[in-house]
Symmetry: C2
Subunit: 180 residues, 2 copies
């Protein structure tokens, strides 16, 4: 349901085509809201059918025609209603934790390998986010500040993840040693 709201949010900033929306997602929102291309276009169709947005076809000579989507008043209302609605309880899935939970049969050394793999991925994510953060624009408007804040959130959680992994790893390694 939320992809619709994200679409409305982007279109509220500026009228866009589906393709541009895809770009906007992958460059600015990918780390907290991956958007499938197919799903994006379907959501746009539905939003238009529901009268939330309006599209105008822009013909192009060589490229396929572009459909430029504009936010309509009902769409803006839906967006504001979403922003003001109570926060839904957070029930996110953590595939890594699920695996770790059941990983005992890998043995201590196997689990440590798992932790190292996860650590690599977390470090990679963190460096990506660091790069994005350092190339971010000056925080002039509230909107820009908030967009930057989502980056900061990702960095904070990535750092927390790495710290947790290191502590767990040390604990397991230590335990293994003393068990010798």
């Amino acid at each position: 349901m939320s992809l619709l709201h994200a679409v409305l949010g982007f279109v509220a900033i500026q009228p866009m085509t589906g393709y541009e929306l895809g770009k906007a997602f992958s460059t600015t929102a990918a780390h907290f809201w991956p958007a499938d291309q197919s799903q994006l276009y379907r959501t746009l169709h539905r939003a238009e059918a529901d009268g939330l947005v309006e599209s105008t076809t822009v013909e192009q000579a060589t490229r396929p025609d572009r459909r430029l989507y504009t936010l309509l008043e009902p769409g803006r209302e839906a967006l504001e209603a979403w922003l003001a609605s109570p926060l839904e309880p957070d029930n996110s899935r953590e595939p890594f934790l699920l695996r770790l939970f059941f990983a005992a049969s890998l043995g201590t050394s196997g689990v440590i390998e798992l932790l190292d793999q996860r650590r690599s991925a977390a470090v990679e994510l963190l460096t990506t986010l660091d790069a994005l953060a350092s190339s971010a624009p000056r925080k002039t408007s509230l909107a820009i500040q908030l967009q930057y804040a989502t980056l900061e959130s990702g960095r904070a959680h990535a750092r927390a993840e790495i710290t947790w992994l290191d502590e767990l790893r040390a604990q397991l390694a230590n335990h293994k040693e003393s068990a010798r």
Copy 2:
């Protein structure tokens, strides 16, 4: 797809009924893997159809019959294969970040309210996890250690979330003040 693996993981520890599985999820894995009751039973049916588990009906006088599921060899292999498979890239959705990203139209004070709501939820989660952690058994086996580690992960991330929220809140409040 992962619910299947979680089911195999639990049944590997001990043969269980669907109902007991539901309990196991909600008491030990709820914070990183919510399991819908309907989905659970469907997954069990499929796992049995696929020859991964086997069920025996235990008749009861007053209560409905219980179907006790046992892990079969192919199921154990599937579980081990999953544990040894490469980590999938992490693409989790963060509805709160999505909302924050587009929340500028709420104004600084509206955003601060949003942050406060989120903070309350995070604090509540943290205290729940703290309680679970303090009532956790002694970390004797590797399995118990890993299960405890998932709790620690939740706590680490909850604390990171609270810290991030506090910093952002201070920054926004400060900005608002200096803009007067």
